[in-house]
């Protein structure tokens, strides 16, 4: 039992490290971890869960907005801005970067670029999910 737990811990630590190494997570995530304490033992989990729920909603909105033609760039931009804020708050670095790129495309009124970028944004949000708690 203990060995299993230790193994799991090690696994988690490895995954965690890889996420940092690959740039999926950044310093901010560490801050979140530091906020976790005995009074809030599941703080990070709660926050990340909240984030995922929120991002699911966001992605849904994003999909809808992207289906419209012509693209409503200002709406896309504001959506992205929100998502960027959330993702940066939890330290989802890559997601945040993708959001920035997306917004650049929005600013440039680049329809194709936006579509292209949506894929990566989603993908990058994925690995965070895999960082299960």
């Amino acid at each position: 039992m203990e060995r299993n737990q230790m193994q799991m811990h090690r696994q988690i630590a490895t995954i965690r490290k890889s996420l940092f190494d690959q740039g999926y997570l950044d310093e901010q995530f560490v801050q979140l971890e530091e906020l976790q304490d005995n009074s809030n033992p599941n703080f990070v989990e709660e926050v990340v869960t909240l984030f995922y729920r929120d991002s699911a909603r966001f992605l849904y909105n994003l999909d809808q907005a992207l289906e419209k033609r012509p693209l409503d760039f200002s709406r896309l931009d504001s959506l992205m801005h929100q998502f960027k804020g959330s993702s940066s708050s939890i330290g989802a670095k890559k997601v945040k970067i993708e959001c920035t790129h997306f917004r650049d495309y929005c600013n440039a009124r680049n329809t194709e670029g936006c579509q292209d970028k949506l894929g990566p944004s989603r993908r990058h949000a994925g690995p965070d999910k895999s960082f299960g708690f």
Partner: protein, 608 residues
């Protein structure tokens, strides 16, 4: 991002409420020892953000800093929370982009109504947005992701703001105030009969450490023993002459007093006046300017605007003659607009209590408000000061008067000057056109005047944007017509703004009165005035004004509640302010001699 439509409000206290309260009410004398030891623990923070993730993280961070955090994901809810607990919070942190209300509007509201320090935050770190925060009066601007370190230091904004409030309030202790001050931290209900938030805020703000309180008592006791000195234009001129003669750096109250050789004023009067003057000059751009500005101030004023009245100003603005006015002239104009003029033939301006003058000088950005503030071209700011400067330092009474005067002033086309942005720009001392562009003083002044109408329009619009709820200015683009206002004022009525909503319509401008709750259909003029207040706020103008202004504004804009009340006490002051202004032509002297009008912003003569 909202999780559904539920409004999320939860309050979690790290500290027992008593200690939290005691932290704020050190002055009250209860729990001093405990609260000061724990400071800034127990700081009551309200966090507003539509993003639940951020909200949660922030709340946790704040609680880790031992602050008392309340989170809220809707701006409207936040506002109502703040209104319900007048002194329930010390600082507000708000996101910029929110679906139900623009963060800046919320910022302005809070600054006006409660005069709390507001910190903006956003993932957006572009300079324009940050500048917007500054101009709207935010104390600070945090970039997401927000780190613990950033949150740890937010208490400084609270202290700073209170400190500035104290400074503003102190010199302006009046007989009335004296009583209040003597009272031990009156609770809100006990506050002035005007029952405006301003007063409440004021008294709340008065809760400082015992030292300040003692000082205040001293002040009040001393001031209550002697009548307030009315710094008339003549007196001020003498003062300025003395200062210039001595040299700005060497001007000490004693020497100034001797030079002035005016019976009836004490060294303390001169000292406080000097302090205000210094602040004012600093605001304008440094002591080196003081020597030049003031003389030219007076000089310009004497130049020929003696008989400038609101009508003239309006005409001037309309005709674009104002373009030719140098920046300083604008300041004079401002002064004139305010109704002040040193020359007998010039517009007489009601003397406003000294503190009024400086209210805008203190860029106390509640927020850091930002400056709240946001510097503006000195010239522009001068003008703006005129508008907003006046009310800022006014007591509720005076405030009422100011409102009237402002209305008048607005019509004069000064409004453009007092664009939101402008007022906020006090700190930067660069003229900020109402459209938000910052330019040179001269250029700006010229440009401003040139496009007075358009500026006003934009100002109005921007104002409405900022305060659409509260001001009928929304969407109206027009220059509030002083005419109507002045007319009213001329009557010497301190009608509540609400009574003459239509008067605000600016000539040639479509001011669509906002039929919303505002009893006072303060349109462009009011909006501008509002701006002034806001800017004042940002500037960290004297607390007095803001509070009173807020009080009145609050009533005007936000609550259907009796608007009259706040005006009750204000009327007097407004009348004072307006009367001189309006009745220049009639040769009415300074209506109220007991007001130290902010002659700083107004010079005696407007340059022709």
């Amino acid at each position: 991002m909202n999780l559904g439509s539920q409004v999320l409000v939860s309050k979690q206290s790290m500290m027992p409420s008593s200690s939290g309260a005691s932290w704020n009410s050190v002055g009250a004398g209860d729990g001093d020892g405990n609260s000061s030891d724990q400071f800034p623990a127990g700081l009551r923070v309200l966090v507003v953000d539509d993003d639940p993730t951020c909200l949660m993280i922030l709340e946790k961070m704040l609680r880790t800093c031992k602050y008392e955090a309340t989170k809220c994901n809707r701006a409207e809810v936040a506002l109502s929370l703040l209104r319900e607990n007048k002194n329930g919070f010390d600082v507000v942190i708000s996101d910029v982009h929110m679906p139900d209300m623009d963060g800046f509007r919320l910022l302005v509201h809070i600054g006006l109504e409660m005069d709390l320090p507001v910190i903006m935050m956003s993932a957006d770190d572009s300079k324009s947005v940050v500048m917007k925060g500054v101009t709207h009066g935010a104390c600070d601007y945090l970039i997401k992701p927000v780190r613990m370190e950033a949150l740890r230091n937010i208490w400084q904004h609270v202290v700073r703001k209170r400190k500035h409030e104290w400074k503003d309030i102190e010199p302006s202790v009046s007989l009335d105030e004296g009583n209040q001050q003597q009272k031990k931290q009156p609770e809100d209900p006990d506050c002035t009969s005007s029952a405006n938030e301003g007063h409440n805020c004021k008294t709340a703000k008065r809760r400082k450490d015992d030292e300040d309180e003692a000082e205040e008592k001293e002040h009040s006791s001393s001031s209550s023993k002697k009548p307030r000195v009315a710094w008339s234009m003549e007196l001020h001129q003498q003062f300025v002459a003395a200062v210039n003669q001595l040299g700005f750096d060497k001007a000490v109250p004693k020497k100034i007093l001797d030079l002035m050789n005016v019976p009836g004023i004490t060294r303390e009067n001169v000292a406080s006046h000097l302090q205000k003057y210094r602040i004012y000059l600093r605001k304008l751009g440094g002591p080196q300017q003081s020597g030049t500005i003031n003389p030219s101030f007076m000089g310009n004023l004497d130049a020929g605007y003696g008989s400038l009245n609101e009508l003239d100003l309006q005409a001037l603005a309309a005709s674009g003659q104002l373009n030719q006015l140098p920046a300083q002239s604008l300041a004079s104009l401002q002064a004139v607009a305010l109704g002040r003029s040193a020359n007998p033939r010039s517009i007489s301006v009601p003397l406003i209590d000294q503190r009024n003058v400086f209210s805008f000088e203190n860029p106390k950005l509640r927020y850091g408000q930002v400056q709240n503030r946001h510097g503006y071209n000195s010239n522009i700011s001068k003008q703006m000061n005129l508008l907003h400067g006046v009310p800022t330092t006014m007591e509720p009474k005076q405030l009422a008067g100011f409102r009237h005067s402002f209305n008048g002033m607005n019509s004069q086309g000064l409004i453009p000057m007092t664009g939101q942005s402008q007022t906020h720009d006090h700190l930067s001392r660069r003229p900020v056109l109402s459209n938000g562009m910052v330019g040179n003083t001269r250029d700006t002044a010229t440009a401003v005047y040139n496009s007075a109408a358009s500026q006003v329009a934009s100002l109005v619009q921007s104002t409405s944007l900022a305060s659409s709820n509260s001001f009928p200015l929304r969407g109206s683009s027009g220059i509030p017509s002083i005419m109507s206002t002045s007319t009213l004022q001329r009557d010497g009525n301190i009608e509540n703004v609400q009574n003459r909503p239509q008067n605000w319509g600016l000539q040639g401008v479509d001011l669509t009165p906002n039929p919303s709750q505002h009893t006072n259909n303060m349109q462009g003029g009011m909006n501008v005035l509002h701006h002034n207040y806001i800017s004042d706020q940002n500037i960290g103008g004297s607390k007095v004004i803001i509070s009173s202004g807020e009080g009145s504004w609050t009533h005007i804009t936000d609550d259907p509640s009796p608007v009259n009340q706040p005006f009750g006490t204000e009327e007097y002051s407004q009348e004072d302010l307006l009367t001189p202004f309006l009745t220049q032509q009639e040769g009415v002297g300074q209506a109220e001699n007991d007001f130290g009008f902010d002659w700083y912003s107004s010079s005696d003569n407007l340059p022709v």
